[in-house]
Amino acid sequence: MTEIKATGVTANGALKLTAKDFKSDQEVRWCPGCGDYAILAAVQGFLPELGIPREKIVFISGIGCSSRFPYYLSTYGMHSIHGRAPAIATGLASSRPDLSVWVITGDGDALSIGGNHLIHALRRNVNLKILLFNNRIYGLTKGQYSPTSEPGKITKSTPMGSLDEPFRPLSLALGAEAGFVARTIDSDRQHLTSVLRAAAQHQGTALVEIYQNCNIFNDGAFEVLKDPATRDAALLRLEHGQPYRLTPDGEEIVHDVTDPDPTRAFALSRLTEPTPIGVLRAVARPAYDRQLNAQLDQAVAERGEGDLSALLSGSDTWMVR
């Protein structure tokens, strides 16, 4: 747990929590078979590992099926408005560095209406862990195409096929100077947990893209990556320190998540066949909230605690008797 301490979060060795302790009393209301269930179970299973008491953990979400997530956890939580969770979480994390703050968002929430907040959170590097549930569709509004839908997508709003080029969320994140970028899959509990662990240990903003199946409006979007018959060929499992190739006969590269140059991570983020999963980049950079709070301490050290009376008077006063 020592790494956790390094993220500015107090670890309590005596704490013995289980997945059950992170379940709220609210009935979970996703469609049966939705990938969100698996993610919820994985997160509830992982949180005890953090060693952080429940009251110090906050989940903030936007709007979407995925954004109902905080209601099902027994931590502090806020279900906010569409796209704005990174901004709200930024205010909370900056003023409360003692908390572990997580953002839950969908592909529409994070990349369409909230695109601006996402890229700025990433470049700013506030201590947030952002879990982006990418089902490549708008679930809650019943199945319109999203900014990650493949071109030509036939949906209710695009009966003749969608026309726009999708975002590659991880490429976008790297372009926005993200320090931590990873991808995982809803159904692979073990892999998902390992990525959550790495994200939690990262100091600063971490973006985790989770491929999530929406069995109602975009069923099977990630089937090739899940089907035992195809997945081994379709996936590139990245491990720090292990070799990989971008093309079958390309040069062998040893994966280094700490490489300060984002070029290789970017190349990986563009790759679709095979599709990389795992941590693409984990480069430490001073976190915004820490630096902001350090400036406050520095101001007090240099000028002393603010004196309200002196402030109000200023330097130019006169007396009326």
Partner: protein
């Protein structure tokens, strides 16, 4: 002069005490009870600084004063053009005054554009000090003057003092190491020195100020001090200035105490810091730069040693979002903006209404719609603040009436937000933000106690040992504020309708109806002081009712009307939602109600709807504050009706 009656509308010569006496150096000193000076020049001429300095000297001297900066939205509009003219008007007096003055007694014009842009505002007999060096053929042509107005009779009705300001400044600085161009830039300090001599202003403050401002460039500092002193000496020695003026301190106008000069935005920033101190909550400002609100962000950014966190967000939505997130965490969350920013923040304000968390939304109004007039004043966001959200989303609204009141009303906004767990609007405007006045510095011990209690214990009435985030205080209807980090009170809140009490998601029709009415009742029940009415004779038939920055001009207009025998009452609203409890009764007490506003009648509409009174609007949306004379005329018309 009948000194209690401000701005009787007479011109400079008539309105002032003609008593004069010989003084040193054969120059005569004349005593005046009030003066309005306008400094005007190119945006790059440093007129705002010159005005600020003259204001500081005047404040320190003890006059009552009021200021009106007026500048273009462009940072540097083309030099020498009419759109590029920047001006600063200052009214100071030996008695209490309410406005920056309707018309200048003295105009300092640094170039032909400044003269042309301001000439129409000058009453006959006004003094004009012009920088003749800038009156070249080219400069004149730029503003469409074929002939030189300095000698073609255009200025025959005025008392003109031609001064070669640029030449004299460059000449004075020729021994310094400054280039000619840098030396020329000190001409505003020459002008300031000259005016300081004319009005017997103290000079030490400006010299200290210049040395501090240019501490890293001592040559520039000394050159500016030299230009300033040369201007002063020039007044003393030149024959073209035969008279100087004295305006005695206005001690009688002020309650005893320590005073300083303060602008609305500075007072507002200080009010926020004071609210943070008095509540014991760290201040968190989330903001995106926008005129005329940015100075609050700038000011608060300087005070990190007060535990103030300022966050320049990527846009207004993120600014308020971050402030709301900080409020969830137990901070005093504030966002500052102007009308266009409020439009972007609306959805988040609605979320704050639903979350029932304290949040301050400061709107420094400017001319609209859209980008409108960024540097001009207007009060047309009242209905936006009142209604500009989806659903029934009531938000308390307060509005300061003067620059100094921005301090008090910031504390009031915080009081309401914290006690009732609600977002609160504070509506200021460009006129209050940039205008300044003497302000009695309050003792910290006079400030209100704003301490709040966070929830620390489970409260579930069902004995389950759980926490109900929407279990209300029966008095205020406020819900408990349980901040993350508090063990045992973990809870989830959101913008979806929730069951009262438990806070669990609820789509139950009866519960929604109950919640909508409860949120409204909470805001309706906010305690605000009764409205005081100023009706000296107690027999007025006409009530003039305003809100926000129009207080000064309305009060000045009322004084004039009363001086002319009119029986008129005045009241001014600082609380617009909820209205003071006695407002309805008060409105019905008068035969007629006149509501002057810098919009198309937004308050009047609310009053008519709420109280069924025939409130009559007088409106102006020119980007400039009302003038006392204008309102006096409207009031006497209403009295004659």
């Amino acid at each position: 002069m009948t000194s209690r009656v401000e701005e009787t509308g007479s011109t400079f010569d008539e309105s002032h005490d003609p008593e004069s006496e010989p003084a040193n150096g054969g120059k005569r000193v004349r005593r005046l009870d009030r003066v309005v000076i306008r400094f005007a020049g190119d945006s790059g001429d440093g007129m705002q600084l010159t005005g600020d300095r003259f204001t500081s000297e005047t404040a320190g001297f003890g006059n009552d004063l009021s200021t009106l900066p007026n500048f273009p939205a462009e940072i540097r509009a083309p030099a020498g053009t009419l759109p590029g003219v920047s001006s600063f008007q200052l009214h100071f007096a030996d008695h209490d005054i309410l406005t920056p003055g309707d018309a200048p007694d003295v105009l300092v014009a640094m170039n032909p554009a400044a003269l042309k842009a301001n000439l129409a505002d000058l009453p006959r007999g006004a003094e004009i000090i012009v920088n003749t060096d800038e009156f070249t053929k080219r400069a004149l042509a730029k503003v469409g003057w074929q002939a030189d107005p300095l000698d073609d009779g255009t200025l025959a009705e005025y008392r003109v003092h031609p001064v070669a300001l640029t030449t004299l400044t460059v000449e004075a600085l020729k021994e310094t190491s400054l280039s000619r161009k840098d030396a020329e830039r000190a001409k505003n300090m020459f002008a300031l020195g000259l005016l300081s001599w004319m009005y017997h202003r103290p000079t030490e403050g400006t010299e200290t100020f210049l040395r501090a401002k240019f501490a890293k460039k001592p040559e520039i500092a000394e050159a500016n001090v030299l230009a300033f002193r040369t201007g002063w000496n020039y007044g003393e020695t030149t024959e073209s200035f035969a008279v100087s003026y004295e305006v005695a301190p206005a001690a009688r106008a002020f309650a005893p105490g320590r005073y300083r000069n303060i602008s609305g935005n500075l007072a507002l920033a200080y009010g926020l810091i004071a609210a943070s101190r008095q509540s014991g909550l760290p201040l968190f400002l989330g903001s995106y730069p926008i005129t005329p609100a940015s100075d609050i962000l700038h000011e608060l950014s300087k005070h990190k040693n007060f535990g103030v966190r300022t966050f320049q967000a990527e846009d207004e939505i993120a600014g308020i979002g971050a402030a709301l997130g900080a409020a969830f965490g137990g901070a005093l969350g504030v966002t500052t903006t102007s009308g266009p920013g409020v439009a972007l923040k609306s959805e988040t304000i609605g979320l704050a209404v639903s979350l029932e968390l304290p949040l301050l939304v400061v709107d420094i109004q400017r001319g609209g719609p859209s980008t409108g007039l960024p540097t001009k004043t207007e009060q047309a966001d009242l209905l936006q603040a009142m209604f500009g959200r989806n659903g029934e989303a009531p938000v308390p609204i307060v509005a300061p009436a003067s620059p100094g009141e921005c301090f008090t009303m910031a504390l009031e906004a915080a009081r309401i937000a914290l006690a009732y767990r609600t977002p609160v609007f504070l509506l200021s405007d460009g006129y209050l933000a940039n205008g300044s006045e003497p302000w009695r510095v309050p003792e910290v011990s006079e400030l209100p106690d704003l301490r709040v209690e966070f929830a620390t214990e489970p409260n579930a009435p069902d004995g389950s040992g759980g926490f109900w985030p929407y279990l209300r205080d029966p008095q205020t209807l406020a819900r408990p504020w349980a901040v993350p980090g508090t063990p045992g009170l973990e809870h989830r809140i959101g913008g979806i309708e929730k069951q009262d009490g438990t806070g669990n998601i609820s789509y139950d029709p009866a519960n929604h109806d109950h919640m909508v009415r409860t949120r409204q009742a909470k805001v309706d029940g906010v305690s605000v002081p009764d409205l005081a009415v100023d009706d000296p004779g107690g027999d007025a038939g006409l009530l003039v009712l305003g809100w926000g920055s129009t207080f000064g001009p309305i009060a000045a207009g009322v004084r004039r009307a009363r001086a002319a025998g009119g029986r008129v009452a005045q009241a001014h609203l600082r609380y617009l939602n909820p209205f003071p409890a006695n407002l309805g009764e008060l409105l019905r007490r008068y035969d007629r109600v006149l509501v002057p506003e810098m919009n198309l009648g937004q308050l009047a509409m609310l009053l008519r709807a709420r109280y069924l009174v025939d409130a009559r609007s007088f409106t102006q949306v020119s980007g400039m504050p009302f003038k006392a004379a204008q309102l006096a005329a409207v009031i006497s018309e209403a009295l004659d009706d």
